[in-house]
């Protein structure tokens, strides 16, 4: 159906199963047949789960919601890469046409001390929320705003800020980084606001608080390998990390 070039695949799936945060997990192997190449990766998991339920086995827990690549909820580490083999897409937007018949696919949860596994492939990314709560905002109460066009923003600044703001908070940067660093996520928010005139008042306090919160969550340290940028489904740039380094220096030494 549909685009018409859909063919079918037979696959071996090795999936991480873990009962809860405290339990130790292990891999479970499943054989799947007749997987359409038009399916998304998560639809393939739907098929697997239906099969498991029909056999009286518990379905594999995984996070997902919008399935259109924007909510940032899906989070699978597929064949050694967050969100799988295609660059610039989330797991939900990965389609089975990116795999070959007979492939073995290894699926693991995001691995980070700051993202404890809840069950199977679902992890807790509350650390990101806490980092934003520490300073990832502009303090403006409802009703205090001036007319939007009173603040002129050069298009290039607005575009650059938007580029950073496109982050979906999925955590692929942390998952990809050999050190489990959250620098790309944090720097995206710091950059978005540092680039806008509205963000200037709290600029120094913001970066200090956010870096402090990031460190407190137990993320690793950045060593500039660039894996985060390469795996980010939204193409958030390493420039943001450099900018955050600059911002923190500026905030400390001035």
């Amino acid at each position: 159906m549909g685009s018409g070039h859909g063919t079918e695949l037979n696959l071996t799936l090795k999936v991480w199963r873990q009962k809860n945060t405290k339990a130790t997990g292990s891999f479970e192997t499943h054989q799947l047949t007749g997987i359409s190449t038009d399916m998304s990766f998560l639809e393939m998991f739907d098929v697997l789960n239906e099969k498991l339920i029909s056999e009286g086995k518990e379905a594999i827990a995984f996070d997902h919601d919008c399935r259109e690549g924007i909510c940032g909820m899906c989070s699978m580490y597929i064949n050694g890469r967050p969100h799988g083999p295609k660059q610039g897409v989330t797991t939900c937007q990965l389609h089975m046409r990116s795999f070959k018949n007979g492939d073995t696919i290894v699926v693991e949860p995001w691995r980070s001390a700051a993202f404890p596994v809840i069950k199977d492939l679902a992890v807790d990314r509350g650390a990101f929320d806490r980092i934003i709560a520490s300073g990832g905002y502009i303090s403006v109460n409802t009703g205090n705003a001036q007319d939007a066009n009173n603040i002129l923003i050069p298009k290039t600044d607005a575009d650059e800020s938007f580029g950073a703001a496109a982050c979906i908070g999925c955590g692929a940067c942390v998952a990809a980084c050999k050190n489990g660093s959250a620098m790309l996520f944090v720097s995206a928010k710091v950059s978005q606001l540092a680039l806008l005139p509205q963000g200037q008042v709290e600029r120094k306090e913001r970066v200090k608080k956010m870096v402090e919160a990031m460190d407190a969550e137990g993320f690793g340290n950045c060593t500039n390998t660039g894996a985060c940028e390469a795996e980010c489904p939204k193409g958030i740039s390493l420039e943001n990390i450099a900018r955050m380094n600059r911002e923190l220096m500026g905030a400390t030494f001035k």
């Binding site: 090795k14 991480w16 891999f27 580490y77 064949n79 050694g80 890469r81 083999p85 290894v106 693991e108 691995r111 980070s112 001390a113 700051a114 990809a176 050999k178 050190n179 489990g180 660093s181 620098m183 200090k208 870096v211 402090e212 990031m214 460190d215 137990g218 993320f219 690793g220 340290n221 950045c222 060593t223 500039n224 390998t225 660039g226 894996a227 390469a230 795996e231 390493l238 420039e239 990390i241 450099a242 900018r243 955050m244 380094n245 600059r246 911002e247 923190l248 220096m249 400390t252 030494f253």
Partner: protein, 224 residues
């Protein structure tokens, strides 16, 4: 507050970057002095440089700073590595690192460790003799004859191989470290970063290559 900065993950990296750049400048000086052997005049010019370096008080003071920088670079690296290990207590079963980063950027610790081992051997070969156990007399100009030590040392094939291999480690360490230091210091710019990267690549290949050339050419007897 600046104390808080140094305790932050960014501050620690900042120290790594700064000490790294400092060590890079040392490499330039070291390389420049050593290049004097290419005059191929039996080490006379080289010994002038070496003697100056050994007896100028400013250089000696700099040497202390250099050691300090080196130790900070090493200790900080160890601490960061330990922290990073803690950040991922359960590892992945399958990692496709090549898909998103270079192997040497992911192996700075390993490359650094190799360089540390090399450094100890290298210091025993030259620095300990020059500063403590003494050099074998003076050359025709009356300068301390460090060159003679080089000639002695680079007669041994295993030393030459070790030095050459270590310079490959250095090259890869620099390939990542050079541009990484700029990124850490916040210098990422649409125009300048590509230039920095190119300069970094050139530097990372050229300096270790020149260093490696010395033992090889001396061993082969091209430089006498």
């Amino acid at each position: 507050m600046s104390q808080g900065f140094l305790k932050s993950s960014i501050g620690k990296k900042f120290v790594m970057g700064l000490t790294g750049l400092f060590l890079i400048t040392f490499l330039v000086v070291h390389c420049f002095i050593n290049c004097l052997i290419f005059f191929n005049d039996g080490g006379l010019t080289f010994n002038i440089g070496a003697d100056f370096m050994a007896h100028n008080w400013l250089i000696r003071a700099g040497e202390l700073v250099l050691f300090f920088g080196l130790i900070v670079h090493i200790i900080q690296a160890l601490l960061l590595t330990l922290e990073n290990k803690k950040a991922r207590p359960v590892g992945y079963a399958k990692i496709d690192g090549a898909a998103n980063s270079s192997w040497y950027s992911r192996s700075m610790g390993l490359l650094g460790t190799l360089l540390l081992i090399f450094l100890i051997i290298h210091l025993v070969h030259f620095w300990v003799k020059s500063r403590f156990t003494g050099l074998p007399g003076e050359d025709a100009n009356g300068n301390e004859n460090l060159y003679a030590v080089m000639q002695e040392t680079f007669k041994m094939a295993w030393v030459v191989v070790l030095y050459a291999l270590s310079m490959i480690s250095l090259s890869y360490h620099l390939l990542h470290g050079f541009q990484s230091a700029f990124q850490t210091l916040g210098l990422n710019h649409k125009v300048y970063t590509p230039i920095i990267k190119k300069v970094g690549i050139a530097f990372s290949i050229l300096i270790p290559f020149i260093f490696a050339l010395m033992p090889i050419l001396m061993f082969l007897g091209v430089i006498k």
